[in-house]
Amino acid sequence: MHHHHRSSGEFKRPIVLLIGSPNVGKSTLFYRLTGKYAWISNYPGTTVDISIGRAHLDGVEVTLVDTPGMGSIYAVTEDEKVSRKMLFETQPDLVVHVVDASNMDRMLPLTLLLIQGGYRVVLAVNAVDELEKLGYRANFEELERRLGIPVVPTIAVRGIGIDELRSAMLQALRGRPKGLQVNLGDELEDAIRRVASVLTADYPVSKRLLAILLLLGDEEALKMVSRAEAEPRRITALLEAVSRQGVRQALEYRLARITDEILKHVLLAVRPAPRPMGRLDEFLVNPVTGTLVLAAVLVALYLFVGVVGAQMVVDFLEEKVFEGAINPALNSFLEERLPYKWLYELVGGDYGIVTLGLRYAFAIILPIVSFFFIAFSIIEDSGYLPRLALLIDRVLKKLGLSGKAVIPLVLGLGCDTMATVTTRILETRREKILATLMLALGIPCSAQLGVVMAMLPGLHALLIWVLVVSGVLMVVAYIASKLVPGETPFFIMELPPLRIPSPRNMAMKTLVRLEWYLKEVIPLFVLASVLIWAGRLTGVFDMVISALAVPVELIGLPRESAVAFLYGFFRRDYGAAGLYDLAMEGLMSYRQILVSVVTITLFVPCIAQFLVMLRERGLKTAVAIFILAVTVAFAVGYIVNQIMILAGV
C-alpha cells in the first residue's frame, strides 16, 4: 500500500474503516468505540452513508469510519457503493472487518479477500451471544492462528470485547499488513500474476486485489487503471488475452472451500440447534395472523401517539401552558412594554415567533413526535420491518416495488426526509423513483401524522382519512409504475433474528431524533414566522394568501386556511398545525376538517425533503414530483369535498 499521498492535517490521524455485511453490528461497535451515536436498528440497511468519529486506542487517536453494510466486493445498491469506495479509494490504515458470529461461513470469504488486498485487517466476530444460543462454541485462538490476523470476539450491544478490540486495533496499526495468503488455484493465480505484472502505476489498493477485480470484469477497477496507467492499452489487451470466463465462480468456490476448511477446526456444535423459527416468528409471517398483528400495531400506535400523546399531552400544553399562561402573559407584557407595533407582531400577536412558531414547535409537535419516536424505535429494533416486508411483498409488487420498499416507506412515517435517503437501499432506479414519489405525496411524517390524529373528529374520520390517502397513494403509484420504465423488482431479504429492543438504544435514538428535530425545526419555525411577518409588513403575504385562497376556496375550505397551506411549504407539520389551530377555534365544519386534512397530507413535501429529493433523484424528477403533489392534493380535495356535499355531510 502507498500512503505517501497523505499530508493535510485532517488525515494525520490513522484512518480505520468498519466494514462488513448488513446488520452485523458495525454501528453498535462504532458507538462503543467512539461514544458517538450512530443509527442502530435491527434490519439490514440502517446505515446508508458513512459517519466519522474519533476513537482512542490507549492514547492513540484514530479516525473511525462507520460504513453501510456491504456483503461482498460486488456492490449492487448505492449504499454498498459508498462502502466500496471507502475501501478502495481512501487508503485506510486499518480495516476492521465485522462479521456475525453465527454466519462466519458466508462472511469470512470477504476477510480472506481483504487480506489479499494488502490491508491491515482485524476481524471482529460480533454477536457471539447468538452463536452460543444456536448451540455452538467457537475456538477463536484457532481462527486467529489460521487466518494470521487478530481475531476478537465481541458482544457489541453489551460492550463486551471492546477493550480487547481496541488493543488488537492498536497492535495491528503498529505492525505491517499480514495474514493468510490463499492459493486461488493454479490457473487463476497465473492470470492474477500476469495482470498484476503489467500494473505499473501507484494504486490505493494492492496490485493483487486490483488484478483480481480486473479479472472479475469490475468496471470501477478498469476505470481506475485506465486513468493511472501510461499505457492502458497494454492492460486491456492482456485482459482480452487471458481467459476471464468463470473467474468469479472459481474465486467464490476457492474462498468458500478455504473458509469451510478453517471453520471445521473452529466451530464446535455442543448442543442441538433450536427450531429454526420461533412461535412469534411464525405468527408474524403467517398472512392471517401477520395481518392481525399489523392491525394491532397500527391501533397501538394510534392509541399511544394519537390519543395519549397528541390529545392528552398536547391539550395540556396547548390550553394550560401556552394559551392559558404564556401567550396572554407575553402579549400583555409586550403590549405594555413594547413601543413598536412591528416588534410586537414579530414576537407575539397572532403569528409571532413565540406565540405561533414556538407554540407549534413545543406545545403541539414536540410531544407528538416524542411519543412517536419511542414507539418507532421498538418497531425498528425488534426486527419487525423485514417480516412486514415479506408479508406485503406481493401487494407492493403490483405497485412496481418490492417488499424491501417497506423500509423507506415505514421510515417515512418517522421522517420523510431521512426516508428519502434510505431509498438508496433499493435495487433499481425505478423503485427508487416510485418510493420517492410515494414518500413525497402521501406518507405523512410523524409530526404531521400526530397533528392529524389529534384534530380529526373521531375514529370514523380517521378511517376515512386513512382510506382516502392510502387509496390515492396506491392509484398514483400504480399509474406511475406503468409510466416509469424499468424491470420488475425482485425481492431477496435477510430476516435477522427477532431481538428485544435495548432500552438504552431506544432512549438514545429517541433523544437523538428529538435533538435533530429541534435543530431542524426551530430555525425553520422562526424563519417562517419572520418571513410571514415581513410579508405582512410589505403586503406580499396578502398577495400570496389571495393566490392560495383560490384553490383553497375551490375545495370548500375557509379563506383563513390558506395560511396553513402557506406554512405547508415550509414543513408538512406546520401546515397541519395551522389547520389544527383553525379546527380548535371552531372555524371549520366536519367536512372541511376532513377535506383540509386529506389535502394537506397529499400536499407538497417540505423544504428539507425537497432538497434531498433534488440531491438523490435530480432536478427533473424532484420538480415533477413537486408539481404532481400539489395537483393531486387539490384535485383529491375537490373530489372529496364534492362527494361529501352530495352525501349530505
Binding site: S102, A256, P276, G403, F490, F491, L495
Partner: protein
C-alpha cells in the same frame, strides 16, 4: 468397453430389435465381430448375427442413453440438430450409470427422442414418482420443511446472483424451506432469507435424504 464397441452394440440393437432386420455376419468387419463375440454380446447363427441376453441388455441401455442425451442437449441446452447429433455420440458415453435415471427424471421421462424414435423406458419411468425426489428441481417444489442441496442457480440478472451469493445461497449449500407463503423463507446455514416466487423458482436443488 470402447466407444467404438458401444456404438456397434447400439446400432445392432436398433437394427435387430427395433427395425426387426436380419443382420448378416458379412455386414461387420471380421475384427469387430470377433471383439463383440469375445465380449459376449453377440453370437453367430447360420450367417446371421444374434444378440445375446447381455448384448440385448447393453444395446437397449445404450440406445436409451443416446436418445436421452439427444433430448438433454436439445431441450435443456438448446443445441441445434446438427450440433447435438455430433455431440450426443460422444457425451452419451460419459454419462455414468447412476445418472441415467436422474437425467431421465429431469427430462420428465420422455418417450421419444427429438427425431421421434422411441426411448426404451428405464426403471425410473415405470416407477415414476418415487425417483423424482432425488433429482434437480426448483426450490419452489419443496414442501415446507423440505431441504436440498443447491445444484445451480439460473438467473440472468447479476444483481440477483450477487444478493443470493452474499446471503450464502450458492451451489453446494444445503437449504431448507421454512415457509412458502406469502413469500418463501429459506434457511441456509444460520441465515434466514425471504425470497419471492420468481427468485425461488430459479434456484435448483437436489433434494433427498442427507448423506
Amino acid at each position: 468397453m470402447s466407444e467404438k464397441l458401444e456404438n456397434l452394440v447400439r446400432d445392432l440393437w436398433i437394427a435387430i430389435k427395433e427395425e426387426g432386420r436380419e443382420v448378416g455376419d458379412k455386414e461387420l468387419s471380421p475384427y469387430d465381430l470377433e471383439e463383440l463375440e469375445k465380449a459376449g454380446y453377440v453370437r453367430r447363427e447360420g450367417g446371421r448375427i444374434v444378440l445375446t441376453n447381455e448384448g440385448e441388455r447393453v444395446g437397449r441401455k445404450l440406445v436409451r442413453l443416446h436418445r436421452l442425451t439427444e433430448r438433454l442437449l436439445s431441450d435443456v441446452l438448446g443445441m441445434e440438430e446438427e450440433v447435438y447429433e455430433r455431440v450426443a455420440c460422444r457425451v452419451e458415453h460419459l454419462i455414468p450409470e447412476e445418472l441415467e435415471e436422474a437425467v431421465c427424471t429431469l427430462l420428465g421421462h420422455p418417450r421419444l427422442c427429438p427425431h421421434g424414435k422411441p426411448i426404451p423406458p428405464g426403471g425410473c419411468c415405470l416407477s415414476g414418482k418415487r425417483y423424482v425426489e432425488t433429482v434437480v428441481h426448483p426450490l419452489t417444489e419443496l414442501e415446507e420443511g423440505g431441504s436440498g442441496r443447491i445444484s445451480y442457480i439460473y438467473v440472468e440478472n447479476p444483481q440477483v446472483m450477487t444478493r443470493l451469493m452474499n446471503l450464502g445461497l450458492r451451489p453446494g449449500r444445503r437449504v431448507t424451506v421454512l415457509k412458502r407463503f406469502p413469500a418463501y423463507i429459506v434457511q441456509v446455514g444460520n441465515t434466514q432469507v425471504a425470497l419471492d416466487y420468481e427468485v425461488a423458482s430459479r434456484i435448483y436443488v437436489v433434494s433427498g435424504p442427507h448423506h
